[in-house]
Symmetry: C2
Subunit: 382 residues, 2 copies
């Protein structure tokens, strides 16, 4: 039987060293570098599966913790798995719940066994372990599952970061032991906070475990972007060359471009849809707050030349009106645009790699992009 | 120059006397009987114009009062009119604001001149007169404008109902005098509450004024359905035969069928989208509360055999999950279904008239329809 998952690097950019690749999965091929829109609760917010396909989505992300709570993996399994449940026939990746351990930190208690969660909905307790995470993810049935890890905060002391990393490695082994689905790939997750030696150690240890792909966790957790880039500069050359590398939770346009230059293949982020619902559009100049009064009589599209439904059919003035009066359709139109913007950006990035001109592309990108229009993690939640 | 508006009765059902017709407008032909989805604020809630076209919508309704407040008719006019503003190239009908006078009754003061409104958004005063309503509607530029009328409540004494009706007639004349757009049809509105002689007088007076079409106002304002049908039985035979008849604000499936049998050609109602957002689907059996726990593991579509996107792609279990976790996509899918359900019902009604079997169709309709699953006006707002 042919292996269900193979990753090929099809081209290395002569100018930047960034790579083009293809990850083959049971639900189709994923071209890399790729941006993965986030469908936390088995839908990308305000979007249908058909729309996600129409805007060129190649792979979706869904959240294990949220789906475990509602509707529960048993229901999804009864439905025939996540693909059938949400009518999405392309690849899906599920996270492990590990980031929720981190981001809902005051609601849980971590031990060597796993994490005792307090369900944020009803306060009941649930025990998430590497084995439970694997069971849930196998029941959900995504193409790619992630190992259950321990994420360290930005300002974490060395000993704690080392402890979290070492536990992540032990848990990664337990995940491998518990993971049996052959039609599902398991990715390990590199940790080590902002300590270069820990990161190097994590890459080495997990590399020896021969995962199908690797997540880079614990970045974009509040640190300045330069510090994240510095860690990437340090660890990317050590990462296995023949495996896809997924920078978890990163999704501003500038970070995507900078990270691809450094060798990252996969990204996810909720920013595109979250800011959309607040009336902010992602554009080559950074951001455009469609809700602002200055667009009230602006009959141009959100982004001139964008091929999305919102830009080819509706004006800033119309969308601003919809946002202003609280119509869901306004949030929908900006969501469509923002997702398409990031997917299109990655199409352009892949094209630039194919043409050995990714550094030129980056320069052109910054010629338009106003850094004041970018986002830092967490900012968009304000 | 050919008249921009003509109405043809193309067929009368031998079994029921109901009619098939076509209303020709500058933005295309409208087959009657027809259900008009409501896009109060220049969008049907949670829907895009493209989706409205895809589900077979032939004409949309928009609200003059709401659009006057936001974004204002000046902006819509600058955009090139409502069709361009909302990217809808088929016919549009705007109401006159008269029903808002009635339904926001504690916020306004009616005189012979017009209505002094208190803007429900910011408390500022605005003066709506027949002339102002015509000016706004002409600026909005829908295909069909409605005369500015005075609606009486269900339990209105005779003298007050007569006074409101006579004022409606005087205002109808002022609307005709103020209305100058030749590419926009003006419909008069029959009033007279639940008094047969007043209704007859209103039909006669307005009939002599030779409007392009006629709204029937002041029904479905809280009365039992039988009382509404009784008024329709009384007045429909008197209505001009060569003009379209629009029963305003009526939109439950049973009322649509009963009213077509009595000779009504056009309908509008917000019920389909309003109940959708609460998780209730319209089905041949009446209603299906998708949100209910009993559908948690039901992998069948909302309505077996329905051709809408929701029913051909998604299960009750999935949609229930989305509603249950508060995802907009859930409200969207039920909205698509509910609108398509009413549009499809009217397609079936037109087909039954064409085949001279509308009374058979009505019998078949009631064989499945549980009246306990119907709605009365206002109930869906609870």
């Amino acid at each position: 039987m042919a292996k269900p998952f193979t990753y090929e690097v099809t081209k290395v950019c002569k100018q930047s060293g960034a790579r083009l690749g293809v990850l083959h999965t049971p639900h189709g091929d994923i071209p890399t570098p790729i941006y993965m829109p986030v469908g936390t609760q088995a839908t990308v917010k305000a979007m249908t599966s058909r729309e996600m396909r129409d805007i060129g989505t190649k792979i979706l992300l869904a959240n294990t913790y949220h789906l475990h709570l509602r509707p529960g993996e048993n229901l999804v399994k009864k439905a025939g798995g996540l693909h059938k449940f949400m009518d999405w026939d392309k690849p899906i990746l599920t996270d492990s719940g590990g980031f929720q351990v981190f981001s809902l930190g005051d609601l849980n208690k971590i031990s060597e066994e796993g994490v005792l969660f307090r369900n944020h909905l009803d306060g009941s307790l649930l025990n998430m372990t590497p084995e439970v995470s694997m069971q849930i993810q196998q029941d959900l049935g995504a193409d790619i599952a992630m190992a259950f890890d321990v994420c360290s905060p930005y300002l974490c002391d060395y000993d704690k970061a080392k402890e979290n990393m070492e536990r992540t490695h032990r848990w990664a082994k337990r995940c491998q032991a518990a993971h049996t689905r052959e039609d599902q790939a398991l990715f390990g997750i590199v940790q080590g906070a902002f300590y270069r030696d820990l990161r190097a150690q994590s890459v080495e240890t997990l590399g020896e475990m021969d995962f199908i792909g690797y997540g880079i966790g614990g970045l974009s957790v509040g640190e300045p972007k330069d510090i994240m880039y510095d860690i990437l500069d340090h660890i990317m050359p050590m990462m296995p060359k023949d495996k896809p590398r997924y920078l978890m939770g990163v999704g501003t346009a500038d970070c995507l471009v900078e990270s691809v230059v450094r060798g990252v293949d996969m990204f996810d982020c909720v920013l595109a849809t979250r800011v959309a619902r607040n009336g902010t559009a992602l554009v080559p100049e950074g951001r455009l707050v469609v809700r602002n009064a200055k667009y009230a009589e602006d009959f141009s599209p959100i982004e001139e030349g964008c091929d999305c439904y919102a830009c080819t059919h509706h004006s800033r003035a119309y969308i601003r009106h919809l946002l202003n009066v609280g119509e869901i359709t306004g949030a929908r139109l900006v969501s469509i645009h923002n997702l398409r913007y990031l997917l299109r950006l990655m199409e352009q990035v892949r094209e630039a790699i194919a043409q050995d001109r990714l550094l030129d592309f980056r320069r052109e990108f910054y010629a338009r992009f106003d850094m004041r229009g970018s986002f830092n993690r967490g900012e968009e939640q304000a």
